[in-house]
C-alpha cells in the first residue's frame, strides 16, 4: 500500500576523500535507483579513465558548468526508495569553503550522515560537520565510519572514533547520534550486512534510515500557520462569499472551533472551518499539511500574517537576536540595510550589530568582528521595520528561521536562526542533553 510509505529527508556531509560519492552511489545502486542506461554511462566513462570496475562515484559527478567555472553547486538531490520509505538525499560537497552548502542541505534534513575515513578518525572537518548539524537542529545524526576494509574491519579502530564523535556531538547538543562501521566501496553495512564485522550488532546504514523514527508528533508543538494567499473566488454560486486563508501549517495541529490570534496585529477569532485542497470541512489539520482556514470573524488578514493558538502564540518583536551563516561573497557588516524574509513575510531590516564570530572548528567566539564573510557563522542583532511573530529556532525550525536578502539584486545573503541554537561553550553540555541510540557494538 503506497499510503503506508513515509518520506525521509537526509543530508550527507563529507569530502570526496572520505568516499562520500562512493557511499551515495552505493546507496543508489544497491537500492536499484540506478537504471541500466545510467550504469552503462558510468561503465563507459570508467573504462575511458582506465579503471577496472565501474566507479559508482561517477553517478554523482558534477556538471560541465561546474568543471569549467571551477565551482560546485551547493546541493544535488538524489532519490531512492525501499518498500517502506522514500528518501530525498541532499548531497552536499564537504570541503572547507562549503559550510554554507551543508547549512543549506541540513536546513530541511531530518537526518544527517557525517562521513569519516576510519584511517583518519575524527578530524577538523568532522567536527565542523557535527557543529553544522547541531546548529541546524537536525534531529538525527549518523556517523558513518567508512573504509573499514582498509583498517582490517577492526572494532578497535571503530570504537574510539564512535566514542569521540558521540561525546563531541553531545556537547553540541545533537539530540541523537548513531555510529555505523561501513565500507562504501566493498558494500559492507551500507545496504547489506557485513560478513567481516561480526562484532558489530547494529543496523546497516539503510536499515537505520528505514527504521529511524522521524515522525514527530505534530501535537507536541504549538500550531503556526503563516498565511500565504487569500482565497476569495467572488464567483456566483456556492462560494460567492468564501474567504479562506491558504497556507502550510508549519507546526502543530489545528481544529475547527479553536480560538486563534492573528499576528502581528493581535486580532482574535475562532476557526470556523478547515478545507484541505478541495476537501471541505476536515476535522483536523496537522503539520506539514497545506490547508485553507476560514475564520468566524471578518478580519483584515493578509499574506505574511501568522495564525496561532491564543494560548500558545509566538512573541512579536522588531528586535531579532540570531545566529547566522553568511552565504554570499559580499560580507555582512554592521549597519547593512537588507530585506528579511520570515515565513511568508518580507520586511526591511538593519544589522544593528555583529556580536560575535564563531570558529566552527574550535567553537571559540570572537567578539564584535568587523564583518562576516561567506561561510562564516556568527551572532547578530537585527532591527526590523515591522514587527514579526518569532519563535526560537530550537523550538521551531520553520518559524525560527529567516533569510537576509539584498534589496538591489535579490540575492540571498544570509541564513538566520533566531536565538542561539548552538551554545558557544563546548565544554559544558546543556542540561538534559545526551547522546542516545546504538553507538557501538555490544551496547
Amino acid at each position: 500500500m503506497t499510503s503506508e510509505i513515509s518520506l525521509l529527508r537526509l543530508a550527507t556531509a563529507g569530502s570526496v576523500d572520505d568516499g562520500k560519492s562512493t557511499l551515495v552511489g552505493r546507496l543508489l545502486h544497491d537500492c536499484k535507483a540506478v537504471f541500466a542506461d545510467q550504469l552503462d554511462a558510468v561503465e563507459r566513462v570508467s573504462r575511458e579513465r582506465g579503471l577496472s570496475g565501474a566507479d559508482l562515484a561517477l553517478l554523482t559527478d558534477g556538471l560541465r558548468a561546474e568543471r569549467e567555472q571551477g565551482i560546485t553547486i551547493d546541493v544535488a538531490y538524489r532519490y531512492f526508495a525501499t518498500p517502506r520509505r522514500r528518501f530525498i538525499l541532499a548531497d552536499t560537497p564537504g570541503h572547507v569553503q562549503y559550510t554554507r552548502n551543508m547549512v543549506t542541505g541540513a536546513s530541511t534534513a531530518q537526518l544527517a550522515v557525517v562521513l569519516v575515513d576510519a584511517r583518519n578518525g575524527v578530524v577538523e572537518q568532522t567536527r565542523r560537520h557535527a557543529a553544522v548539524a547541531a546548529l541546524l537542529r537536525v534531529p538525527h545524526v549518523v556517523l558513518a565510519v567508512n573504509k573499514m576494509d582498509l583498517v582490517g574491519y577492526a572494532e578497535s579502530v571503530f570504537a574510539p572514533i564512535a566514542d569521540e564523535f558521540t561525546a563531541y556531538a553531545a556537547r553540541l547538543g545533537a539530540p541523537e547520534v548513531t555510529a555505523i562501521p561501513i565500507s562504501a566501496l566493498a558494500g559492507d553495512n551500507v545496504v547489506e550486512p557485513s560478513a567481516e564485522m561480526d562484532w558489530y550488532g547494529g543496523p546497516t546504514l539503510l536499515e537505520h534510515l528505514e527504521g529511524v523514527d522521524v515522525e514527530q508528533d505534530p501535537g507536541a508543538h504549538p500550531a503556526r500557520f503563516p498565511v500565504q494567499y487569500v482565497l476569495r473566488p467572488q464567483t456566483p454560486g456556492e462560494f460567492r462569499d468564501y474567504r479562506g486563508y491558504a497556507g502550510q501549517l508549519v507546526s502543530g495541529v489545528l481544529h475547527p472551533g479553536e480560538e486563534v490570534v492573528v499576528l502581528p496585529s493581535g486580532q482574535r477569532s475562532t476557526i470556523a472551518g478547515i478545507d484541505r485542497l478541495g476537501e471541505q470541512d476536515v476535522e483536523v489539520a496537522f503539520a506539514p499539511q497545506s490547508v485553507t482556514l476560514r475564520l468566524a470573524d471578518d478580519l483584515d488578514v493578509s499574506r505574511g500574517d501568522v495564525i496561532a493558538p491564543v494560548a500558545h502564540a509566538p512573541r512579536v518583536t522588531q528586535d531579532v537576536s540570531a545566529t547566522v551563516c553568511h552565504l554570499a561573497a559580499r560580507p555582512l557588516r554592521p549597519g547593512d540595510r537588507v530585506l528579511l524574509r520570515h515565513g511568508t513575510r518580507t520586511v526591511k531590516a538593519m544589522v544593528r550589530s555583529l556580536d560575535s564570530r564563531l570558529d566552527i572548528d574550535t567553537l571559540a567566539a570572537e567578539p564584535a568582528p568587523p564583518a562576516l564573510s561567506v561561510n562564516e557563522i556568527g551572532r547578530v542583532t537585527l532591527r526590523t521595520a515591522a514587527p514579526l511573530p518569532l519563535d526560537d529556532y530550537t523550538a521551531d525550525r520553520r518559524t525560527g528561521s529567516f533569510l537576509l536578502i539584498d534589496e538591489s539584486d535579490g540575492a540571498t545573503l544570509t541564513a538566520g536562526m533566531v536565538g542561539a541554537p548552538l551554545g558557544t561553550d563546548p565544554g559544558h553540555a546543556a542540561p538534559g542533553q545526551s547522546a542516545t541510540g546504538p553507538v557501538a557494538a555490544g551496547v
Binding site: 567555472q69 553547486i73 532519490y79 530541511t108 541523537e176 505534530p218 473566488p233 485542497l277 506539514p288 533569510l403
Partner: protein, 307 residues
C-alpha cells in the same frame, strides 16, 4: 523517541501527501510573489499533474494564472485534443507558441534530423518576453537527469532565459526567494522532489485522466536509434526503415520526431505502475533521442533557456 510519543497514524502524511503539500505550497508562494505567472502545459503527464495540483491549491477560487504551450507542430493529435478539452473544462487561458510559425516565416530552420525539441527554446523565450511572464511553472523533476538534480525549486533566469549556476540562490528551509530584476524571470519547479513512480502513484490515487497514448495500444511504428517512433508527416520513416504494427505506449510525451514509444501491454494505471517500478531504463534514456546527443545534452539546453 519512544512509541508513546509517536504521532497517531491519522496525523501522519504518506509520501504522496507530503509531496502534494509541498507542491501546493510552492504554487501558492509563486502566485503570491509574482505578477504574471504561467504554467507550461504540453499535455504530458507532468504538466497534467501540475495543473491538477494548481486546481487543488486555489480551490474553490479559479487558478490565478494561465497555461502556455510551446507547440512543436509535431504533437500527437490525442494530446492536443486532451489539451483543448482540459482548457475548456476548467475555463483556463491558453497561450500557444508555435514552432511551425517560426519555421514558416524563416526565424527558425528545420534541423536535418527533423527533431524539433531543441527548436522550442526561441518561441518559449519570445512568449515569456512578449507576455511579460515573470514566473514560469515547469514540470521538471530532479530524478530525471543529472543537470536537473542540481536545479533549484526557484531557478533564476537572465533576460535571455539563460541559467547561470553562479547566480542560483541557496534554498534553505522552505523559504523560496523569487526576487528578480526587470526582464529576468524565475522558472518554478513544483515537482522537483517527485519521481516518475510518485507521479504515477499520485495519478492513480487522484483518478487523473491522461491522454490515451500513455497506455498500451496498437500503433504503426518504425525503429530508429533503438526507439519506436510513430510514422507521420514530420519525416519518418526514411528509406530503409520499415513500419510495423506493435503494442506500445509512451512513457513521456513530447515531439513525435524524438519521443519514442516502448513495447508494453500496460492498459491500466496499475499495470503502468508495475511496469515503471520494474523498468531498468530511465524514462528519458528509454524514450528521448534528444538526451542521447551528448553526455551534457540537457545541461547545454538548460543553459540556453530550455524548459
Amino acid at each position: 523517541m519512544s512509541v508513546l510519543t509517536g504521532a497517531p497514524s491519522r496525523l501522519r502524511q504518506s509520501h504522496l501527501d507530503a509531496l502534494e503539500s509541498e507542491a501546493v505550497h510552492i504554487f501558492r508562494e509563486t502566485a503570491a510573489e509574482f505578477e504574471r505567472p504561467v504554467l507550461l502545459f504540453s499535455g504530458g503527464k507532468d504538466s497534467i499533474l501540475m495543473l491538477h495540483l494548481a486546481l487543488k491549491a486555489f480551490w474553490p477560487a479559479p487558478v490565478p494564472f494561465g497555461l502556455l504551450h510551446v507547440d512543436t507542430g509535431h504533437n500527437f493529435d490525442e494530446v492536443i485534443a486532451y489539451r483543448d478539452r482540459t482548457v475548456a473544462r476548467h475555463g483556463l487561458r491558453l497561450t500557444v507558441a508555435g514552432v511551425q510559425d517560426y519555421i514558416d516565416d524563416g526565424r527558425l530552420t528545420e534541423r536535418p534530423d527533423g527533431t524539433r525539441n531543441p527548436l522550442q527554446t526561441v518561441p518559449l523565450l519570445d512568449a515569456i518576453t512578449t507576455n511579460r511572464f515573470d514566473a514560469v511553472f515547469g514540470g521538471g523533476r530532479r530524478d530525471e537527469e543529472k543537470a536537473r538534480a542540481k536545479e533549484r525549486v526557484f531557478s533564476l533566469r537572465d533576460e535571455f532565459g539563460g541559467w547561470d549556476p553562479r547566480r542560483q540562490r541557496p534554498e534553505l528551509w522552505q523559504l523560496y526567494n523569487g526576487r528578480h530584476r526587470v526582464g529576468e524571470h524565475v522558472r518554478v519547479f513544483p515537482l522537483s522532489n517527485w519521481t516518475e513512480l510518485d507521479v504515477w502513484q499520485y495519478i492513480e490515487r487522484e483518478g487523473i485522466e491522461l491522454p490515451e497514448i500513455y497506455f498500451a495500444h496498437e500503433r504503426e511504428v518504425f525503429s530508429r536509434d533503438g526507439m519506436w517512433l510513430t510514422a507521420g508527416g514530420w519525416g519518418g520513416p526514411k528509406d530503409g526503415e520499415s513500419v510495423e504494427r506493435r503494442m506500445v505506449r509512451y512513457r513521456t510525451v513530447g515531439d513525435m520526431s524524438c519521443t519514442g514509444a516502448v513495447d508494453s501491454d500496460a492498459v491500466t494505471i496499475a499495470q503502468v505502475i508495475r511496469e515503471v517500478a520494474t523498468s531498468t531504463l530511465t524514462e528519458r534514456g528509454a524514450t528521448r533521442a534528444d538526451d542521447k546527443l551528448s553526455e551534457a545534452a540537457m545541461e547545454d539546453r538548460k543553459r540556453e533557456g530550455y524548459f
